[in-house]
Amino acid sequence: MEHRKLSRLVRRWHVVAVSAVVTGLVVLASATAGSTATSPYGAGVFPNGKYGENYNPKPATVAKAIVSVKALPSDPVGKSIVLAAMKRAEQKVDLDLAFKCWKQGSCDTGTGGKYVLGDADGFCGNVWRKVTEMEVILQALTYKQIGKIIYTCANLDTQKAISDFRGLISQGANVMVGYADAGNALLPAVRDATKRGIPFSTYVGGTIGTPGKDYTTVLTQDLCGLGKQFAAIVNKYAAGGSVAFLGGTPGNTLTPQWQKCEKAALAKNVKYAGEADTSWTREGALKATSAFISKNPDLKAISFEYADGFVGALQAYEAAHKPPNIVYTGSTDENSVFCEAKKIGNKGFRMWSGSGFNSQARMAVTASMMQLAGAKVPGVITIQPVLVESKYPSYGCRPDLPIEASPRAAVPISLFKRMFPG
């Protein structure tokens, strides 16, 4: 009898012990979920909650911002940062406050948060910059820790860019983002910020100094991969013809990177017609394209990273009363090129483009905030190039958006209408 009681007791404790171990293992597994968890975005993505972020945005949100989930960075940490930024883009914020901040250039968010976000922009003279400024504001408003936002614009004046940057620090900015138009001239000020423990993340505008050491990170895209994608499309649809390359301002560091890789990847039956700088203006593109089409009757493709500038190329065809039966491969996606193509209404015109990457500014805000939360942010976060075709007849023209805006911007339409009334 005693023996039976003892056996029952042992069995009971056995069950309890096993249950406790199993429970403990389950808890442990949950706590470390993400490293090996089934994130829809692949292995290595941070678990939700880590560094105060959620890493599970809707795929549609990601695709809207960067064309496709395939464009996500390949490294897990960079991917996590981008996903966290996109998840925050889904959050609803006070649009009236956002508009007020945008209009005034600086504002108190009303949260009492201890962080002051400084946004040092090198230029503010076009719609892309204004929309990007709004993206920064909308992203910042999702962080209760950010109590104030200050925006500066240097209008392409290097001296002003440097003094704006230093001015933001003296106004108490302790987390910063910006577009480094001034290039390496900005480095001393940037390094000063880093020494003071202020995270600074830059986007789109190219790499300055040593990212990861001189400052937090640079959000960029794989330009060589972009050139190879251009070549793949050109080889498929422009075989037997020639392709011309248009570039930006003379001596810029962005254009040669994709042009070099595209040229190397061109098929033997595609003739290289040459390259021309346009200063990223429509007039420059018009002049260059006029020269190309007069010299190359077999021109079948044009590659140019800047979609709005390519409008000038289309206008060259219009002025020449020649249908643009060509393939266009581009990187950005300003509404203007879609609407111009729709207006021309020529079925023989085909175009592929990527994203305007206004969202990179959101990613920069999140990268800086995650560094403050203790994350080891990689020095370079690279978005993979993914191109999609915009098809005849509408080509995706959005009459409800400003002509220079990117349809991929994560700014609500109601806010767009207030920013650009009409």
Binding site: G125, N126, K130, P250, G274, A276, D277, T281, R282, E283, L286, K287, A288, S290, A291, I293, S294, K295, V311, G312, Q315, A316, E318, A319, A320, H321, K322, S336, P399, D400, L401, P402, I403, E404, F416, K417, M419, F420, P421, G422
Partner: protein, 390 residues
């Protein structure tokens, strides 16, 4: 102002415009004093012929250079002169340089300079978009209103330069910056579509005789302006002011008013260029005016005008604008790298300045006035008549 009656005509000097040739030539103005003998008919005839040669020689080089450029194009880059490139690109693009250059020439004649051209262009283009709201029925009023604003800008610049005697380079540079800033603000308030009315956009693609209508507008403006400058009373007085402001003032010409008019005209021409550019590109951007800061000035100088003031030829200015555009396009067709294009373009402008009409006139002037050479210009009949008069 001196109380001398010498301001009146007949007491000292008379400004007389020479006839014929390219628009905008003026005879040498002589103030003279009552004590000096009145020039004989023979002397006046010789003087008139020498002046014609001297003045005309200023403007010949650009015509010759353009002809040479044509020939070079035809040989090394014939595609530049193809219909596609020539009529659809070069001619309209040349018009965008030529139209503000016409206004610039008038300002340069007064010894000034106008650096507000890019600012006026971009503001006018955006005003056209904003005031018309993209509607055809608002197109004409919007054009007039936009040009009206341009005129006000010109009046303001002219007042600062002519009345307050501020430096024109600083004034117009500052005005240009203010206009750019104002346009940036205005741009944020205009419609999403931010385009010109469809009628204006359609006009920009129309052609007459196989050439863009934008080109014909530019030609019309040049002919009208050159005719007014050369043949009208106001034009001749303007030339007198350009040739010698002090003498013109003594002769009773309101120099200040004419100087202000030069800046007014320059701003209106720049505004017209802004409207044509807006028509061509349909969605004007903030950098629309940037290429037109120095190009019109280069055209004026290459055409033979002196930056110190004096005579200018509007038709030669048009030719110079065309030559600059043709050269630029030829370099693109040749496929030269941007670096080489900059070098060749700069060298061409330098060479053009070295052998410019202004310099040629400076060399020819003393030569033509030597007694032996002057005698060679004498008309024997008039010379004999002159000696009888004497």
């Amino acid at each position: 102002m001196p109380a001398l009656a010498s301001r009146r005509r007949g007491c000292g000097g008379v400004a007389r415009a020479a006839a014929g040739g390219s628009g905008g030539r003026v005879a040498v103005l002589s103030t003279g004093s009552v004590a000096q003998p009145i020039a004989t008919r023979g002397q006046r005839a010789r003087s008139s012929l020498i002046t014609s040669v001297l003045v005309g020689s200023r403007f010949i080089p650009i015509w010759l250079a353009t002809g040479l450029l044509f020939a070079i194009c035809a040989i090394i880059a014939p595609e530049t002169l193809s219909g596609l490139s020539f009529s659809s690109a070069i001619l309209p693009l040349a018009t965008f340089v030529a139209v503000p250059a016409l206004g610039q020439a008038l300002v340069v004649m007064t010894g000034g300079i106008d650096l507000s051209t890019p600012g006026v262009i971009v503001l006018t283009a955006h005003l056209l978009v904003g005031l018309s709201g993209g509607r055809n029925d608002r197109l004409a009023p919007a054009i007039f209103e936009a040009l009206g604003v341009a005129a006000l800008v010109g009046l303001f610049s002219g007042f600062l330069v002519a009345v307050l005697r501020f430096n024109p380079l600083i004034v117009t540079l500052a005005v240009g910056q203010i206009l750019l800033g104002r346009t940036l603000i205005y741009r944020g308030t205009i419609a999403n579509e931010s385009g010109v009315p469809p009628a204006l956009g359609d006009f920009s693609t129309k052609q007459t005789l196989g050439v863009s209508d934008i080109f014909w507008i530019g030609v019309l403006l040049t002919i009208v302006a050159a005719f007014l400058l050369r043949s009208s009373r106001i034009g001749r007085r303007f030339q007198a002011v350009g040739a010698n402001p002090q003498s013109a003032w003594i002769a009773g010409i309101p120099v200040v008013r004419f100087t202000i008019s030069a800046y007014l005209a320059s701003a209106i021409f720049s505004g017209a260029a802004g409207i044509l550019l807006a028509a061509f590109f349909r969605y004007p951007q903030i950098d629309l005016g940037n290429p037109y800061l120095l190009a019109p000035i280069a055209a004026v100088v290459l055409a033979g005008a002196s930056l110190r003031g004096g005579v200018a030829s509007l038709t030669s200015t048009w030719v110079a604008a065309f030559a600059l555009t043709l050269l630029n396009q030829m370099l693109q067709v040749l496929g030269l790298s941007t670096a080489l294009q900059f070098i060749v373009f700069g060298a061409a402008i330098l060479i053009g300045t070295v052998i410019s009409g202004d310099r040629l006139a400076a060399i020819l002037g003393p030569v033509l006035q030597r007694p032996g050479v002057a005698a060679a210009f004498a008309d024997p009949e008039l010379a004999e008549e002159g000696e009888r008069d004497a």
